[in-house]
């Protein structure tokens, strides 16, 4: 049986009439810390119980390679060496890389597209927010390194531009 909100309420009711400022409680299953503040209490709880994985649950190792966003984020090993003179377009934050504004729409750019520093070249979606990524340099798209709908770490090189 886990710690419930009702349990905490009961404990607080006991503590309210007592001269204590804080309570730390630790069992094999949870850690609870209660502190008196100006006119109430604050609570920090940590449930320690390990998840109970049901038999027949798919092996995560099998599943991990099937989905669209399952690529390993670190791609440095397979990254082609930077050709001299090319400018990198990097992921400004970690998220999912999209080449088009929405599914089915044409990509923002292709290899060979001319860009200015303000040209939007792709989207990085993080926590349901779409972040436009601009080219940052004027020139021509020389390489597109990331794959559409794949996860990219912050700083991952997504594309390379041949500057003017």
């Amino acid at each position: 049986m886990d710690l419930t909100n009702d349990d905490v309420r009961d404990i607080l009711r006991l503590l309210d009439g007592q001269p204590y400022q804080e309570l730390e409680l630790e069992t094999a299953r949870f850690r609870l810390s209660l502190r008196r503040t100006g006119n109430g209490w604050t609570q920090s709880t940590e449930i320690l119980t390990a998840p109970h994985v049901l038999p027949g649950s798919a092996d995560p190792a099998d599943l991990a390679v099937t989905g669209p966003a399952a690529s390993s984020p670190g791609q440095s090993a397979e990254l082609p060496p930077a050709d001299s003179g090319l400018t990198d377009v990097r992921a400004p934050l970690l998220g999912t890389f999209y080449r088009a504004p929405r599914p089915g729409a044409p990509p923002f750019v292709e290899v060979g597209s001319a860009v200015t520093p303000d040209t939007v070249v792709c989207i990085i979606e993080t926590m349901k927010l779409m972040n436009s990524v601009t080219a940052g340099a004027a020139g021509t798209i020389a390489q597109i390194l990331a794959e559409n709908a794949q996860f990219a770490d912050q700083g991952t090189v997504l594309m390379r531009i041949q500057p003017e």
């Binding site: 886990d2 419930t4 909100n5 905490v8 309420r9 607080l12 209660l34 502190r35 503040t37 006119n39 109430g40 209490w41 604050t42 609570q43 920090s44 709880t45 940590e46 449930i47 320690l48 119980t49 390990a50 998840p51 109970h52 994985v53 049901l54 027949g56 649950s57 798919a58 092996d59 995560p60 099998d62 599943l63 991990a64 099937t66 989905g67 669209p68 966003a69 399952a70 934050l93 970690l94 998220g95 999912t96 729409a105 044409p106 993080t126 926590m127 349901k128 927010l129 996860f151």
Partner: protein, 452 residues
């Protein structure tokens, strides 16, 4: 049928929320978890977990149905977001002999398609914003005259507030439509636009419905006008300063819409209330439990998840409209993992500390605990802080106290913004419109700028 084992096909705070009710009802819980959520609080609290693989598989109908079957669950609770309003999941569950805890597939389709929902609203006699599609800019005058100026030009394929344009002067209309069509064509690949009545100052007011497929009742209203880019930040129940006659008409309209659909389960009908003329218009229906449901629970004393399960078990509603009594006031702040001082930049990471207010007058719904991770794949909601009081002033004092007492370390949060909004005179007065927050942000931004 009495449900004994439920698969929860969701994550975060709502998974924890659903688990709590199931535990109280003595229902076994199995949680579907993706790889990044394997050590989540919900996974630790559930009676069992089933791995469903990569991060986005909460969106996979096949993965969810397979998980339900392998877990021997009799029902699936979809929570909100993800597949909660997905008719395919409802049908797939039906086919697999598993109960989908939600509306019927037909109702999900009726509510989920904006055009279909609007047609249903018109058929049910609800007021909708007057509007119409424009094929030819030169022949738009008649439509606009019927709607009345100012009008709003909207891109048919647009969304999220993009491609909007307000026209007050009839002489400028044709030109503005031509420009809007060209822009829409470039931005969305679809030049179609339509005209709609422009509501200068609108409030977002919604009504909580509960139905069993025959009978529909309402559980009062909520005000969710504090929004940024159509994302709600603060919600409260009841909606403050709503004229009593208007409030009753809004409630009746929502119930009429639910009855028209013969609605089953928990749902919300959203309205835009025009502050200038005191009119209201149907916006859309959400056929699922909503993030802001705790404020309704606080003022009705009901457990909405328990009512969802009751209806899913095939029972008729156990409440009549007369059983619903509303008392007190509740205000909820959605704390997100975003740096609100840096364009609301998302802030995934590892939580080092998570301390929340405790005791009577507070409710906190959260999945955070020290050491947990906030993955970048999902929405940024960290916690909902709810202040509950006998009246709005007391609820406001409590939620202010809750925001002050809350401490989350390891990721950036919107706590500071909540504190600022709750301290503002406008919010304290009550009844702000949907443009309030953007204006507030602009003001404090320029103040900060002038200080720097």
């Amino acid at each position: 049928m009495i449900l004994r084992r439920i698969l929860i096909a969701n994550r975060g705070e709502i998974a924890v929320r659903i688990l709590r009710t199931c535990q109280q009802l003595g229902i076994e819980t199995v949680l579907a978890v993706t790889d990044p959520d394997r050590d989540s609080l919900a996974a630790r609290l559930a009676d069992g977990v089933v791995f469903i693989g990569p991060p986005l598989n909460y969106l996979s109908v096949d993965a969810i149905v397979a998980a339900a079957l392998s877990a021997g669950a009799q029902a699936v609770h979809p929570g909100y977001g993800f597949l909660s309003e997905n008719a395919q999941l409802a049908r797939a569950c039906d086919k697999a002999g598993v109960i989908f805890i939600g509306a019927t597939a037909e109702q999900l389709e009726a509510a989920g398609d904006k055009v279909a929902a609007r047609e249903h609203a018109v058929a049910a006699g609800l007021p909708v914003l007057p509007g119409g599609e424009i094929a030819d800019p030169m022949r738009s005058g008649g439509v606009a005259a019927e709607i009345g100026f100012p009008v709003l030009i909207k891109a048919t394929a647009g969304g999220g507030g993009r491609g909007l344009r307000v026209v007050s002067d009839p002489a400028a209309l044709a030109g503005a439509i031509s420009v809007a069509m060209a822009e829409a064509g470039a931005a969305f690949g679809d030049p179609r636009v339509y005209l709609e009545r422009y509501v200068r100052s609108g409030r977002h007011v919604e009504v909580q419905l509960l139905g069993d497929g025959e009978r529909v009742i309402h559980l009062g209203d909520r005000d969710c006008s504090v929004q940024r880019r159509y994302q709600k930040l603060i919600e409260e129940a009841p909606a403050p300063f709503l004229d009593q006659g208007l409030r009753q008409r809004v409630h009746r309209a929502a119930v009429t819409f639910g009855e028209h659909l013969r609605y089953r389960g928990l749902g919300t009908v959203e309205f835009l209330v025009d502050r200038d003329v005191g009119d209201f218009f149907f916006l859309e229906m959400n056929a699922r439990i909503q993030v802001e449901h705790p404020v309704t629970e606080a003022v009705t004393g009901l457990d909405l998840v328990a009512e969802q399960i009751w209806v899913a078990e095939g029972n008729a509603l156990r409440l009549s409209q007369d059983d619903i009594t509303l008392s007190g006031h509740a205000i909820e702040c959605r704390v997100n993992a975003e740096d609100w001082t840096d364009s609301f930049r998302p802030s995934p990471g590892t939580v080092i500390a998570a301390t929340f207010p405790s005791g009577s007058g507070f409710r906190v719904d959260s999945h955070l605990q020290p050491g947990c991770s906030v993955p970048p794949f999902y929405d940024s909601l960290l916690a909902k802080l709810i202040g509950i009081g006998r009246d709005r002033a007391e609820a406001l004092a409590r939620v202010r106290q809750a925001v002050t007492a809350c401490e989350i370390r390891g990721v950036a949060t919107t706590l500071g913004l909540h504190a600022a909004v709750l301290a503002s005179d406008e919010f304290a007065a009550g009844g702000v419109d949907t443009r309030f927050l953007q204006g507030f942000l602009d003001r404090i931004g320029s103040e900060a700028g002038s200080l720097g």
